[in-house]
């Protein structure tokens, strides 16, 4: 077993007859890893499995050499901010974070210091004495994050951590993830929007229907984006003529007249060559009003890989 990696070996989990995840093999190195998939794809199940909240039906899991069946060891190195939007009744933000630290065995004074620091990190100091029940969704999200980071875990697991955060706090939270990753720690987070996490993730794991569809470093995923066919809309006054000219280009896979009459829809695998071709057509005197990418975002890759809509 590797002591600095998170390992899933042939892990399956069913909830009765319902598939959670199926035959998952993963090796997650330190850094920021994003689990991406649509709702119900198995992201939360993977996170719950690695934190021991659910147990695998088959296979084995190791989190930096620790089994999820040993919470007394595992949770010393793991902090998990779940998606469950509930907190113990009647507790204040400070009390919530403090309780977690007391359970870690910190002396009260030290626990109070750490709780205050964690709450300050998520910019909630002003609301720490208020009851969590009175928090907004974003504030509840942040207080859960504060509890997860308060004991400075080596593995930070975050289920949809950016949901409900305003842009400023989102930027600060991402900076926090980067800081954690830079110190050789794991940051595992989930999202159903690839676009949201691809900017700062070192690795991406795409999951659909309980199975790993793709995994790897983010730059490899980006390469796949460039290799998979992209669609563009050419705004022009003479769509039939432009379509005919584009058909002659080897890099163009398909051309059709936009049914809404805006111009021509073009599918290509080589963007640079396509751009050169459009330039040549424009230089030949045919007026091109504009080129609009129809699917130029990372979600397109996601749809491409899982073969369906989100």
């Amino acid at each position: 077993m590797s002591d600095d990696q998170i390992l899933f070996h042939n892990v399956s989990k069913f909830y009765g007859d319902v598939l959670g995840v199926n035959k998952v093999d993963l090796r997650i190195p330190p850094g920021i890893t994003s689990l991406v998939g649509p709702n119900g794809s198995g992201k939360t199940t993977l996170m719950n499995l690695m934190t021991g909240l659910v147990h695998p039906g088959s296979g084995s899991i190791s989190v930096r050499g620790v089994s999820p069946f040993a919470p007394e060891k595992l949770m010393r190195i793991v902090g998990y901010a779940t998606q469950y939007d509930a907190a113990p009744r009647g507790v204040t933000g400070f009390g919530f974070v403090l309780a977690g630290l007391l359970l870690h065995g910190f002396p009260r004074a030290e626990a109070e210091r750490r709780a205050a620091l964690a709450i300050e990190t998520v910019a909630l100091t002003h609301a720490s004495s208020r009851k969590i029940a009175a928090y907004s969704k974003g504030m509840r999200q942040r207080i859960r994050l504060a509890q997860a980071i308060a004991h400075e875990p080596e593995v930070l697991v975050l289920d949809e951590p950016l949901n409900g955060l305003d842009p400023l706090v989102r930027a600060e939270t991402i900076a926090l993830f980067r800081d954690y990753a830079a110190r050789g720690r794991h940051v595992i987070l989930s999202s159903h929007v690839l676009q949201e996490v691809d900017v700062f993730s070192d690795q991406v794991i795409l999951i659909a229907n309980g199975m790993i569809v793709a995994e790897g470093e983010i730059r490899n995923v980006r390469d796949e984006i460039h290799e998979h066919p992209s669609q563009f809309l050419l705004h022009c006054q003479q769509p039939s003529r432009v379509a005919a000219l584009l058909f002659e280009q080897a890099e163009v896979l398909a051309v059709k007249i936009d049914p809404e009459g805006r111009g021509v829809l073009v599918t290509t695998r080589h963007r640079d060559a396509f751009a050169a071709a459009v330039q040549r057509i424009a230089l030949s005197g045919i007026e091109i009003d504009g080129v609009l990418p129809m699917d130029e975002n990372v979600d397109a890759l996601y749809e491409y890989l899982i073969g369906g809509g989100k």
Binding site: N48, G52, L53, P71, M75, A86, A99, G100, G105
Partner: protein
């Protein structure tokens, strides 16, 4: 131990003040209210009769049946009340006297003494037996039983409903330790509530007794009885608490374990001796200091349900109860280790 205590402290608030279990206080306080109420009524009667003329009991007892009412009035003097009425062609008369602690009614038919009825203003022996009956048949069988259901079943099941159980599972604590911590929180809360309830009701019982009765009781059995009443209520919490904590791990609906347990406790007298020892009530009945009054006309079937089948000695009962509790907690700890967080949404 430190972790158990930290968990217990964190859980204490939920155990004491869970909105779902505030009715537990009503159950715990009911006998105290009952006996305080009875005490007030006794005090009222005492003050009512304080100024009434006293006729020595010996004078009244010496009057033979058949004595004419005029002669009785001449011997015993003016009664407190004098009621006359006619029924079934008979002239009836009732004279009430007071001997200082008892009310005595002399009943006449057609002017001759027919019978005499005596009712005390308050009888400590009678109250003591009534208290024993209330304690066993209501307090232990119902109040402590359902109170523990309300407190202990919430410790896990309540958190599942609130979707907050995972916070405990995400702490660096063995699940068995978590179970014990929560059990301790529930036990402290229930023992304080029901031990306190027993103490309060026992105090209520003593609060209105005559000073002679009270002095006599305090110098003999009061401390012994009071201690065992409180102890048996607390031991009820120990036993029922473990059962309902375990039930909260296994079942969503608390009605089911409550009914099953109630049935099990009720049919205990019909079970083989070995199975009888797997009942909490079996041990609790054995350590109650005063046997509750059982009407001799109670049918044998009902008698088996109400009375312990084969009472054991107090210390054997305590050890037996602790053994049953340990067994249940061991089974619960194995369950909690396998417990998964599944609030029904994925």
């Amino acid at each position: 131990m430190n972790q158990i205590w930290i968990i217990a402290k964190l859980e204490m608030r939920r155990a004491f003040f869970s909105r779902r279990a505030l009715w537990v206080y009503l159950l715990a306080l009911f006998p105290a209210v009952l006996f305080f109420g009875h005490g007030i009524s006794v005090q009222y009667r005492r003050s009512e009769y304080a100024g009434k003329p006293v006729t020595p009991a010996a004078v009244l007892d010496r009057i033979p049946v058949g004595t004419p009412d005029t002669e009785v009035l001449a011997t015993a003097g003016q009664p407190i009340t004098d009621r006359k009425w006619r029924r079934r062609d008979l002239d009836r008369r009732s004279l009430q006297y007071f001997d200082g602690s008892n009310r005595i009614w002399l009943e006449f038919e057609n002017g001759a003494l027919k019978s005499r009825n005596r009712r005390t203003l308050n009888s400590f022996d009678e109250d003591s037996k009534v208290y024993a009956g209330v304690f066993q048949f209501f307090y232990l069988r119902l109040a402590v039983f359902f109170g523990c259901l309300g407190i202990f079943i919430n410790l896990f099941r309540g958190e599942m409903i609130d979707k907050s159980l995972h916070y405990w599972f995400l702490a660096p604590v063995r699940r068995e330790i978590l179970l014990l911590g929560k059990y301790c929180a529930g036990l402290i809360a229930s023992a304080v509530i029901f031990g306190g309830g027993a103490l309060l009701s026992f105090s209520a019982l003593l609060s209105y007794q005559s000073s002679a009765d009270l002095q006599g009781y305090l110098q003999t059995d009061a401390f012994y009885h009071g201690t065992w009443y409180i102890l048996s209520a607390m031991l009820g919490c120990v036993g029922y608490g473990s059962v309902f904590l375990a039930a909260g791990l296994l079942l969503r609906n608390p009605i089911i374990p409550a009914l099953v347990m109630l049935l099990w406790e009720s049919i205990n007298g019909f079970l083989p001796e070995l199975l009888q020892k797997l009942s909490v009530l079996h041990y609790l009945q054995s350590i109650c200091p005063v046997a509750p009054p059982l009407d001799p006309n109670v049918p044998p079937l009902m008698r088996m349900i109400l009375a312990p089948a084969a009472p054991t000695s107090a210390w054997a009962a305590i050890l037996g109860l602790l053994a049953v509790t340990a067994l249940v907690l061991y089974a619960a700890s194995r369950t909690v280790r396998r417990l998964e967080i599944n609030y029904g949404t994925e």
